[in-house]
């Protein structure tokens, strides 16, 4: 499963959040890896992830963090 990483409208972010909730743990973690990889290719300074990924919940949190780093102005992702 692929998700779109461009951080655009609020609707777009809700869409991302819904996709995340429907993913398996492995899909989530692959997605997080892709997000970090994107950040690495776009701006090295965005990379400050120091701890390993442990479990799907942690992965979601790290993805949210990655989103914030890609777009510091973006509001927090909703849970719904």
């Amino acid at each position: 499963m692929e998700i779109e990483f461009e951080i655009g409208s609020q609707d777009g972010r809700r869409h991302v959040a819904k996709q995340l909730k429907s993913m398996s743990r492995e899909q989530l973690e692959l997605t997080v890896l892709r997000a970090i990889d994107h950040a690495a290719h776009n701006d090295a300074q965005l990379l400050e992830f120091s701890s390993r990924l442990e479990g799907a919940f942690g992965a979601v949190e790290k993805f949210r963090s990655a989103v914030k780093r890609l777009d510091p102005e973006a509001p927090e992702l909703d849970d719904d």
Binding site: I36, D37, R52, L53
Partner: protein, 527 residues
């Protein structure tokens, strides 16, 4: 660690250099050439501290007095008894009043712009602690040869070889902090000094210009250090001393005629996950056609002594089960079925996510271990916090090099197709542990945390260059990549296979790392 960022240039910056030269029975003509090279420096702010170590040639001391009379910047001293090169160098150090010391032997020559080039670098980055340049050799007829294009700052390589050597310029406070030279290491006194300086973690800059001409005459170290076995042994002791100081769990082993390297051993045995992406491909293994993956798993039983291991097979759907061992008496095997379009990077990432080890080793299925402690060696290097990845010597089945690290640009494999004991790049890097600009994903060890920190393999590069990209990402984050010949494996990759590169892959590399691999650029570590 080398900081490649340059701060703003201060055109008014002027360092004061103290050139240190211990003098003992040099050839008069060589010494006069040496004097001329110092007095011809285009940069004026220097003093020259010369210490005659009680030369038996009675012409030397009067000659020193004569040149000191001609130039007030030249300071001389004579020892009352011969004390050896370190004692004389320490006396010269005690005479120094500069902020940087520049090391010059009594029969060598500086390039006219040597100090000017060093000052230029310091004007760019005044917090530099140590600078070294490229060098060449000069024969009795004044002919230059043997240019050594040195790698950028490579602390792992320095632990094997004093590749920095000439021309070295060091912040005098650092030299004093480590206590100067140590007479126990005469013959390798500079190597010993630089190893101790390196432990202070100064900012280091490599100047890729020949600023020093090393005199090479019959019987000289420059021509053949093997003619001086005491110097070779002093080098070994200098390395052993560093290993002890740094509390490295390692053994100093001979590397060829004159070098040594530290064969590292792990201090602990974290769980290692070997991730093997496969499609169950068959090929020739020592003349027999069989599934590569099956051969790999069986060979892991014979050539592996690591006690804490799991193997994760990431197999494309449709891979025959006969190509995969489902159980193994020595380690756990987990198989993940991959049902997406072929994507090597994504398969590796999936394996990493499933892995439970703290260390990940990505291993192509057409590999067979050669050295039994290869996993121990790779994990031992990873115990250094700033090492992001480690790779081994990979050999074709004809025992020639398949990969000894990457070179960028290329991208390509360093030393591909030559003997693993042959000279390469004007030296013997195949014998030494060393920093590299990239490592092949065919066998690559990383700490799990670091793999996730940089986002793993980029799955926009499904087949080629995902390892090159990973190496750049690691270096971008300040990690070193280490290649070591102490771990060696066979790679049954076809020697004649042309890599099938797509425009998309090349474009991706160019877009993201073009500033590092553009035409005209040279590899940081093999030049």
């Amino acid at each position: 660690m080398t900081d490649r960022k340059q701060s703003s240039f201060d055109p008014n910056f002027r360092a004061f250099f103290s050139i240190l030269t211990p003098v003992y029975n040099p050839s008069i003509t060589d010494f006069i050439d040496c004097v001329r090279s110092v007095r011809n420096q285009s940069y004026p702010l220097w003093e020259w501290c010369l210490v005659d170590d009680c030369s038996t040639d009675r012409r030397i001391w009067p000659l020193l007095k004569l040149i000191a009379l001609r130039d007030k910047r030249i300071k001389i001293q004579r020892r009352s008894e011969n004390g050896g090169i370190s004692a004389a160098s320490n006396d010269a150090l005690a005479m120094a009043s500069g902020t940087f010391v520049a090391l010059l032997d009594n029969d060598d020559e500086l390039a006219p712009n040597a100090l000017a080039s060093v000052n230029h670098q310091l004007a760019l980055q005044p917090d530099i602690g140590y600078l070294y340049s490229d060098e060449d050799k000069i024969d009795d007829e004044g002919r230059h040869f043997g240019r050594f294009n040195k790698p950028d700052w490579s602390p792992e390589r320095l632990l094997c070889q004093n590749y920095c050597n000439h021309f070295s310029v060091i912040d005098i406070d650092l030299v004093r902090e480590v206590g100067g030279y140590r007479a126990d290491f005469d013959g390798a006194q500079d190597h010993d000094l630089l190893l101790r300086i390196a432990e202070l973690d100064p900012k280091v800059v490599h100047i890729p210009e020949v600023l020093y001409h090393w005199r090479a005459t019959a019987g000289s170290t420059a021509l053949d250090v093997s003619e001086k076995p005491a110097a070779v042994d002093a080098g070994r002791r200098a390395i052993a001393s560093a290993v002890k100081r740094r509390e490295i769990n390692g053994t100093v082993v001979r590397a060829g005629e004159i070098y040594h390297r530290v064969h590292r051993h792990p201090t602990s045995y974290p769980k290692v996950s070997i991730i093997v992406p496969t499609r169950g491909t068959e090929g020739s293994v020592w003349g027999m056609r069989r599934p590569f993956s099956l051969n790999l798993l069986e060979s892991l039983q014979d050539r592996n002594t690591y006690p804490n291991l799991e193997v994760i097979i990431v197999a494309d759907t449709g891979t025959p089960e006969s190509a995969i061992l489902l159980e193994h008496s020595d380690f756990e095997i987990n198989t993940i079925w991959f049902d997406e379009p072929f994507n090597f990077a994504r398969k590796c990432n999936l394996g990493a996510i499933r892995a439970t080890g703290d260390v990940l080793i990505f291993l192509n299925d057409d590999i067979e271990p050669r050295s039994v402690d290869w996993i121990e060696v790779l994990t031992a290097h990873l115990e250094q916090d700033d090492v992001g990845a480690v790779g081994p010597m990979l050999l074709f089945d004809n025992h020639l090099v398949q990969s000894a690290g990457h070179i960028n640009p290329g991208p390509g494999h360093f030393a591909r197709g030559i003997s693993p004991t042959a000279p390469a790049a004007g030296g013997w890097p195949l014998l030494l542990n060393r920093e590299v600009s990239g490592l092949t994903g065919a066998c690559l060890a990383m700490k799990r945390d670091v793999f996730f920190e940089v986002g793993g393999f980029c799955d926009e590069l499904p087949l080629n260059y995902n390892d090159v990209d990973l190496g750049f990402k690691l270096q971008q984050e300040g990690y070193r990549l280490i290649w070591t010949p102490d771990a060696s494996l066979y790679h049954f990759e076809s020697k004649s296979r042309e890599t099938d590169l797509s425009e998309v892959e090349l474009d991706f590399l160019e877009r993201h790392w073009g500033h590092l691999i553009a035409a005209g650029k040279v590899d940081r570590y093999v030049r």
